[in-house]
Amino acid sequence: MADEDRDLIEILEEHNPVDMAKYINYVSAPQAGAIATFSGTTRDTFEGKTVLELRCEAYVPMAVRCIKSACQSARSSWNLMSIAAAHRLGPVPVGETSVFIAVSSVHRDDALDACKFLIDEIKASVPIWKKEVYTNGEVWKENKEFLERKSELEKGGRDEYRCCRKQLESKPNGHGCCGAKVKIDDGCNGDTREAE
């Protein structure tokens, strides 16, 4: 099975809660010793203001392409079995999940690191927006990860620049896009790691 066939990406229409169990089940596999997940949920306050709910919207086809691109980048950096990523649209009440990522791998380091990479990547480059609704107003949020990536995105999607920048070079201390981790050589990975 091709790598991308083991990735599940869903942008959920309004009023469809994120079914975390579904995505965990999706990435489960007998060979997978680890499943790492990240769930982003609506907080009840922001800078002292009471938050009623978030409202999410997306440029859906581009968001799916960008998440696919991020999954490919993750696969080029870590040894992964399967990836599931979901983002909810429309109102997301306090306490409910707006974004969920599940990653499976043979050993835990790959799944944990890739899971963090993927949520950072979604924050930086996937065209999804979130409005925070307070008791006394509302505001479109802005991810700092996007602002850090902006100059790269402005260079466009030609060849080396895509939604997720490909790993043309490694940035040892970089954070955000694909610079987060030096590419792993499949041939010498795994033997020295402890089993989960």
Partner: protein, 105 residues
């Protein structure tokens, strides 16, 4: 747009036939989040002279929707679902998206 008038040859980047000076291209522009709030529209058709860049389209949009000036410095552009440079030359039926600071996750 002033940058292209007066030139006589235009070639698109993807092998479309050469067009005559004075012809125009029609594109669809998408507004999201704050950009949609400011324009009051989720999308609009835009006709610009052949050879126009994404930047030229933005200038035209700023004339039609002065409110966009507020976010001009913090937006990025996507052309046909890929992030694009403002210097990209647009083609007939392109889909240009105005991407205000994203906030997913």
């Amino acid at each position: 747009m002033d940058a292209v008038e007066g030139e006589s040859k235009y070639y698109s980047t993807q092998g479309m036939p050469k067009k005559e000076e004075g012809s125009s291209v029609g594109i669809k522009v998408l507004f999201f989040a704050r950009a949609r709030d400011l324009t009051g529209l989720s999308d609009v058709r835009l006709e610009v002279p052949f050879g126009s860049t994404a930047s030229d389209c933005l200038k035209e949009l700023a004339v039609r929707f002065p409110g966009l000036e507020e976010i001009r410095q913090c937006i990025v552009l996507a052309l046909n679902e890929e992030y694009a440079s403002e210097s990209t030359v647009i083609k007939e039926n392109d889909e240009l998206a105005i991407i205000p600071p994203i906030s997913g996750g």
